[in-house]
Amino acid sequence: MAKRVDSASTGSVDRREFLKGAAAGAAGAAGAIVTGPAPAQQAAPANQRPGVTRPTEADARADFVPPEPRADARFIRNPGSDYMVDVLKALDFDYVAVNPGSAFEGLHESLINHGGNRKPEILTVLHEEAGAAMAHGYAKAAGKPMMTLMHGTVGLLHAGMGLFHAWCDRVPVFAIVGQPRNPTSVINRPHSAQDMGSIVRDFMKMDDEPTNLDVFANIAMRAYTIGLTPPRGPTLLVIDSELQEAPIPDPSKLTIPRLSMPSIPQGDSGAVKEAARLLVSAERPLIRTGKLARTSAGWDRLVELAELLQAPVDVGGYGSWQDFPSWHALYGSGGADYRPDVILGLEINDMTPSVRAVRATGGKTISICSEYLSQGHNIHDFGNYSEVDVAIAADGEVTLPSLIEEVRKQSTGNAQRLRTARGAQVAAAHKSIRESEIDAARYGWNSSPVSVPRLVAELGRQIQNDDWAIVSGHQFTGQWQRRLLNHDKFYRYNGDSGGFGIGYDTPASVGGALAHREHGRLPIAIVGDGDFNFVGAGALWTAAHHKIPLLLIVHNNRAYHAEVMLVQRTAARRGRGNDKVDIGNVIRDPAPDYAKIAEGYGIYSEGPIADPTALGPALERALARVRAGEPALLDVISQPRGPT
């Protein structure tokens, strides 16, 4: 997953680039601070510019410590943040999500002027949660992390939900928060903290606050490597504002560390051999996957293993990634009559249901999962302890080649004959299931509001000749995307939020779409109206501003409808009647007009569309815009749920 940086070239090039600037700075003056008049920006003192309030005498008296010279009254040849940018460039980031803040203005300025706003390029976001979610969605689609910058406590708190999702989804996000150190202004005091990282520590793989630039480089490299080593996750650097601003004392003593990525842990050879033995001797093996394959190679290897064993592959529901082609004969759990005697879990963090399923018949379970390498954390997103028969603490994807090799070695002629018969049985069950699923889609076909299957099928018709990618989750459309769209590539589906809180889908879709842009793919998101109303609208502006093509369909049922059902059931249990359960759960009176909101952000939009016959033409018009490189939005008034 990590893009390995060529150590020799990266180290030398970035070091040269940094030292060139440093030498120029050192030649400029013995002291890096120029106090005399020179740059145009010093023409007027900051406190005399329009919009800036001059401090009163009372303000001055309130702070006993004499104020430092104002940061913008100095001219620094080689600020620490320039070095930070050179270090970050060695990590090969393409983008950094930024909602500006004074706690990282030094780094912000260096990214633009020292770094040239390239690698990373700033992605302007309107909310830190949106920035974290974009980095999350981007990382899954691009296979490499994005940076996100936040301003002090307030920015970090806003970003918290986005970082939480990345944690639960085991996705790396490289987060940096500015720390206003020794703040003298009344505004910055609440924006700084004694232990900034503690705000989000419960769901970060690591956080640290470097005390000098050497340590910054060290910690940046550590954060990157730790974040990308399974189980992956977000990491946080807390960057002192003074460390960004202060001139580098002796640039010749600073170097850019070489990125050294550790290899990803593979399964122990003895345990893999035993796993292969169980699978080869099984009569009805089943493969279950969680967050397994985010690369083409991982996808291909899982197909290879499934076909070799002729074993069905159950990719799970919410929270799982795609991992396996949805229109493959071995996709699914093999049908109602397929009772597995061996279950292989690949990156399944809770094998308990599998253990339970085979225990009564004496079956066996195998788990290959990087979650075993996870350290304790506060959040209960890890699974139950499970009594599996072969537990392998390793990354599932990178262990697949050795497992496949072992299965091949141990396979006999008799085992192959058994597999052929098994494959035929599974294929027959698959045929029956897919026919019944398509049959179920007929119900409500002509309904208004539009049924979920109709929405997905109309979309499928329009994109069948495109290289498309669904960049939103499928939590609110059930399995209909997988049933009606041929997920035949590893990037067709970007997965759900991980933490199952709403607010992820829209901004993460923008991040995913950004990653697909350079490949010329057609990104599509189907997001709930509840999700869109969190930080989604502002994310649209980012898509418009940065010209990120994306078709965003608002699956608009004008309610948090699952909660309507939950409150109904609770009211019924308590015998209190059901006529008030829409209070607090519906989004009507007035019903928001999402097409108008999108229009306000400069985005092509249509809606509300409640007539199913109007949907196809609307999709055609909107997709034409997206294929031309624009974002577009369709507001589709929909039935709440898909048929089961």
Partner: protein, 135 residues
């Protein structure tokens, strides 16, 4: 004692009246069952009782399809007021008239869906899916 006896007598009279009234109501219901009105039933289904949340607005494409509705009106009223199913809440406060209206509304919804051959888009998906599986 005297007062207690009077109270007991009054209680007996009241209870007897309730029983008689109930018997009378029951008899009236048997004679004149409530008549549902589909127009009144639609907003009861969609808004008042939020049936749409699970069954969708069309009662066809939701978590549990309601058509064709195999209950009698009386059976429907009894079931909805006393649902024993874990995912289907009981609606004891819904009146027989309201439930008869909802029943009448559901009966207006087409019981079946268009045949697969009449939905070219879905037929096409099935054909493409069959081809993909065969490859």
């Amino acid at each position: 004692m005297k007062q207690r006896g009077l109270a007991a007598a009054l209680t007996s009279v009241v209870l007897a009246s309730v029983v008689l009234a109930a018997a009378s109501l029951s008899a009236q219901q048997q004679v004149q069952p409530v008549v549902g009105d589909a127009a009144r039933g639609k907003p009861l289904f969609s808004d008042t009782f939020n049936c749409y949340a699970c069954h969708n607005f069309d009662a066809q494409s939701g978590e549990r399809r309601l058509v064709p509705l195999n209950y009698t009106q009386e059976g429907f009223i009894t079931f909805v007021q006393n649902s024993p199913l874990p995912n289907m809440p009981a609606f004891p406060d819904a009146s027989p008239q309201q439930l008869a209206d909802i029943y009448a509304y559901i009966r207006t919804i087409p019981a079946d869906a268009p045949a697969l051959r009449d939905v070219p888009l879905l037929s096409d998906v099935l054909q493409r899916k069959n081809r993909a599986v065969a490859e």
